[in-house]
Symmetry: C2
Subunit: 453 residues, 2 copies
């Protein structure tokens, strides 16, 4: 069996690639080794958003209670939530499969392994099959990274996938890793009643974000009662009858009923034999790609597997670009100006375009302007006024926006338009910002005094 | 005392006009008869948003409970909420006054009455004073409309201003008027524990919205337990020891502890003697303006008083335009393409640009495309999946967006950009919509099949 386009992986990137290929009239095969939807749908962005959404009342009540406006108690049933999550994911996977079939995509279940430049071996329960192709898109995704000092046992020591399978929250949860996954998971379990201790090896939370954002996150979660230990590593652990004890580099120890290890994700590129297709792995284990996202003459690699930007919407965007490129519909290099990223919860974080430090590293003259959320009526309405919006400028145009605070995810797509279109202050002033909205904090930040950094 | 610019009214329009005038170097006087901030800050958008924000936990708990994910009880203390509201409003007014003073605006308290084309009489506790001016901006705002059958007594029969002064919620609240004020107020009191009966003379709620939006609102509030009576008027009332009884045109009667009358607002133009300045009133009682928002050779009228669009952000936008026009900075007619409007609560409503029916009335060929919120992961996460996004097209470009559902206010400003810039489907597809976000429902609606209407 041969095809115009063979796609390896049925996550956000592979799914988008297959649909785009079929829409362009290519005979398209999609190979998936386990479930459609990949990390994002099954064990990543979607289940965490379902858990955060269902526990929102706990957060809003806490905010109203801090202002002495409300009393009460909200208790969320994790077991029921997990069942709803599983039902929703199954329904979504079914809808994805139906959409692929309706588009004429051939879905093959099995583990792929490249055999030659135009051939891939698929291993399934019936044996081994060779599929040939004109062009292939590798969208194999990523997998959790284990810590040698804390190997996941799916009992006391959990990775993020296992944590999403729990039916009861641990009374004391230690989280190792202060990136966005650790922060979202920490909030979910805090709202479910867990006492959170977070350990991060670096000296700040969410280290890819603006340092001021990291500081605000730490303040916020400490205020919410978390114990946060920065700049120290877990050196070892001991399991006891009551739980486990983590020994930190700092000499401290952390007692917990369970420990969640969320120290990052790595490309799932190891067992694919990409070298047979003419591709190479980077030292980090990602598939190396050029400016057109090509890994080899007939192979593109998109999404987490190229480790360029490990975000579902970036993966989809890369996938659609790659299909259009291989079909000769576009010739230019891949660009993702203004790519937005979001950390959900309370506070939320949004980052679009470039941080000031990134532009300075490129030798550009950079200014920042800002606005505090405390001046915003919607932030005040929710009693969650900590945080700010910060705009990065270069050459008189908006190059980046970052914000931390209550519901700042609202600003992401508008900020992306500002960055992609290179707005000046006049562009923002010409828009009629609806009142009252959180968006007005973005306008205030755009209009704020610009300071050289 | 004379000035380059005299502004009557210190609400959103007058405040923006005075600051803009001072920024342009005009000697500026602002006359306010009561409190800075006008309807929006003191008795309108801001207090209602504070009340909706503080009661959000009740709504989120109800949604999680409908899905059997959560149990509990949240009780919001209206007396504490009212005190917080009053403190926040006072602080905001103080900040506004400080900003006016810092900008060099002269603030005069008193009731204004035009005396001649370039003169206004100000009456305050010390007597009557004449101020002369080169140009004036009238931003006198609006006031509540009473129903003859239900005159407000600030006891059993309340207008919206009085309802925001309550310290305890009525057990049974009848609301007369199903526009956005009635809907937001109804939600506030429902969350505070009131049993709501809503009476609307027209045959649908929120009659300025798309009819499908009205239908979804009715379904949603009925599901939340409201009694809704459409297409019937209140003919009379009787006060009793236990409360009051409303007699409806339909022959039914409604028993309630209190009744809130929210049948609209009218321009506050009656006592200003605008004729002396050369201006005229429309039959509806608004100050008549031309395409440049001019009411007379030396007078502009902006905001609610011209009844063009009774929204704070529209008022501010008109005010800044008028100052720039009178200062010779702009010559073109006033335009407000894509003006957004929002109804807050759960569900929310957003409307930007033109509805399909409005464009059809102009004789244009119109298409609509749509997406249900049920397919959106963020709507699913909050367990609030009713509603939709609907896009209006003409000439292949986006002319309007309307949506109803959980947190659809998030879409307002981005939708405004789409309408103002006349986006095609390609513009939306070129944007990387962050995943998962409610914004993706807007993208799906843009990409949806277009149907002729």
């Amino acid at each position: 069996m041969t095809s115009d386009l063979l796609v390896v992986g049925g996550g956000p990137a592979g799914y988008a690639a297959a649909l785009e290929g079929a829409a362009l009239g290519l005979s398209t095969v999609l190979v998936e080794k386990s479930e459609l939807g990949g990390t994002c749908l099954n064990i990543g962005c979607i289940p965490t958003k379902l858990y955060l959404g269902a526990t929102e009342a706990v957060e809003e009540l806490a905010a109203a209670r801090r202002l002495r406006l409300a009393t009460g108690e909200v208790s969320v049933d994790l077991s029921a939530l997990k069942q709803r999550k599983d039902r929703f994911l199954a329904a979504t996977r079914k809808a994805m499969q139906a959409k692929l079939e309706a588009a004429g995509v051939t879905l093959r279940r099995g583990q792929a392994r490249f055999d030659a430049e135009g051939a891939v071996e698929i291993v399934d329960e019936t044996g081994s099959h060779i599929l040939t192709f004109e062009r292939a898109i590798l969208a194999a995704g990523s997998e959790v990274v284990d810590l040698p000092a804390l190997p996941a046992d799916n009992e006391r020591i959990l990775n993020s996938t296992q944590a999403l399978e729990l039916s009861t929250p641990p009374a004391r949860l230690a989280i190792v890793g202060g990136g966005f996954i650790g922060l979202e998971m920490g909030q979910i379990f805090a709202r479910l009643g867990s006492e959170i201790t977070l350990v991060e090896a670096l000296d700040r939370l969410a280290s890819v974000e603006d340092p001021e954002v990291s500081a605000e996150l730490a303040r916020s979660f400490k205020r919410a009662g978390w114990t946060i230990k920065l700049g120290t590593k877990v050196m070892g652990h001991e399991k006891t009858a009551e739980g486990l004890t983590l020994s930190l580099e700092s000499g401290e120890s952390v007692l917990a009923d369970a420990c969640l290890v969320v120290v990052g994700r790595q490309p799932s590129a190891k067992n694919l034999n990409v070298e047979a297709a003419g591709a190479k792995l980077t030292p980090r284990g990602a598939v190396e790609v050029d400016a057109q996202l090509k890994a080899a003459p007939r192979l593109y690699a998109v999404g987490d597997v190229n480790a360029r930007t490990m975000l579902a919407h970036a993966a989809e965007h890369q996938a659609r670009y790659a299909v259009n490129h291989l079909a000769g519909k576009t010739g230019h290099a891949y660009v993702d100006t203004g790519l937005p990223s979001i950390v959900y919860g309370a506070p939320e974080v949004v980052r679009v375009g470039s941080l000031a430090a990134e532009l300075k590293d490129l030798g550009q003259s950079v200014q920042v302007s800002r606005a505090p959320l405390a001046a915003n009526a919607i932030a005040q309405a929710h009693g969650q006024t900590a945080g700010f919006v910060k705009v990065t400028w270069s050459g008189g145009r908006i190059r980046g926006v970052t914000a931390v605070g209550h519901q700042v995810s609202r600003l992401a797509t508008l900020a992306e338009v500002m960055v992609r279109q290179g707005w000046t202050e006049r562009h923002a002033e010409a828009l009629i910002f609806p009142h009252p909205t959180l968006d007005e904090a973005l306008l205030e930040a755009v209009k704020g005094k610009r300071e050289e950094v």
